[in-house]
Assembly symmetry: C2
Homo-oligomer: 247 residues x 2
């Protein structure tokens, strides 16, 4: 059982409070946040604990700090612009799109896929699905799993031929895994539509596509899934927002 913390640490509670105040717009327009001593006073915490809270907020990119001047909210961090570029976003990507299974999971031998999954066997499971937006298919995704992973979802109705859902495969998969997924390595390039892609997305063979490969790994470094997507560039642009990390 993953027992949830019943009592939140003081520094986290403070960070949450400050996050809320920032989102509320209280420090918009270059207004300085309270100083460490002020917060220490207000919440009855030591200055060290206040600092610990700020460390998290700085790491998230919610605030930035300047010695001698003070602490300021990062403009546009609280509002509607949601924090992209995290794995969470990748896994929830599908809110406004529908997924349709084109080819259900099937056991097969694929040397290339097995190699990329870093398996010692050549045996992998492969499935493919299309994603729709506004009624038109704009991406064909093929995923490969190691056998152990495939077993976890093979029987799910979500992967049956013709099934539709609004989730991502990796989102469906994760709850069944023993270790959480912590990393997604993506590579993005240009590729031509092959016969299958062309047929499924109704475009000419040889059409230029945006190709995105994703390799999901868990905390132990084991690769959990390989996904290769071909996007119609007319209907899709890949977006990421990178934030300054830590310190």
């Amino acid at each position: 059982m993953t027992s949830r913390d019943l009592t939140e640490p003081a520094y986290r509670a403070l960070a949450a409070t400050l996050r809320a105040r920032i989102a509320e717009g209280r420090y918009r327009g270059g207004v300085r946040l309270p100083t460490e001593s002020e917060l220490s006073e207000e919440f009855g915490l030591s200055r060290q604990t206040v600092r610990r809270a700020f460390q998290d907020l700085v790491a998230e990119g919610a605030v930035y700090r300047v010695p001698g001047r003070g602490t300021f909210a990062t403009e546009g961090s609280g509002r509607y612009l949601r924090q992209l570029g995290s794995i969470e976003d990748l896994m929830n990507l599908s809110a406004d799109t529908t997924m349709e299974v084109v080819s259900p999971p099937r056991r097969q031998v694929d040397l290339d896929a097995a190699g990329r999954l870093r398996l010692d066997t050549d045996l992998v499971y492969r499935m493919a699905f299309r994603r729709y937006h506004d009624g038109t298919p704009f991406v064909l995704t093929t995923v490969w799993w190691p056998e152990a992973v495939a077993r976890l979802v093979m029987d799910s109705p979500d992967v049956a031929a013709g099934a539709s859902s609004t989730h991502t495969m990796i989102g469906l998969l994760e709850p069944h895994l023993r270790r959480p997924i912590v990393e997604a390595a993506q590579s993005i390039t240009v590729a031509s539509a092959d016969a299958e892609v062309a047929a499924q997305l109704d475009c000419p063979v040889g059409h230029s596509m945006l190709r995105v490969d994703r390799l999901y790994s868990d905390a132990d470094g084991s690769v959990v899934e390989l996904a290769v997507s071909h996007f119609l560039p007319e209907h899709y642009t890949y977006r990421v927002t990178l934030r300054r990390s830590g310190n």
Copy 2:
């Protein structure tokens, strides 16, 4: 003057040392890192300072820690696969490539660029450069600046026509800014080579290119630079590694 730190803080030095040891493979295969007390002993630092170093490493995803068990290197983070996906990486991207200025900064009216920079005037500064790898140009980048930003680097020898350097424009720019750059919004799509791109990269007009647009913003949310790059897909793949965020 932006004075560079002459003496690195102890916790950063320690973090760097540990990063190096991890990269070297010393803690591969589930081997526990030294405990806080051991490191405190080894480096003559307090346990608190050691903890501070670990906070950074955890935030980067280089290690994960388990109470009662110890600290472990995140498998696959150290080796040849370099950690991309932070703004820092974007700004230091160029270690192994050379940049050559093709068209020096010039004041001009550009409605589209001005709009994307969120300016109220139509006046922007534009420059363009190529980047080489192994002697062949593989990307043409055009950047647009607001006037205030352009002033900061106009006179730098690095942006003169024909100049070569191994930096990134945004890396050259940042030390001159009042507020740090904290966000880079990227969008990636497929585009055809126009006459200029084709000429500079020696490819046919109409060739399929990987197009990457980047919009850099500072902590106040002001846009500092717009950069549009056209990559030859034969010589370049865009890679990002996304990590599960924080805590």
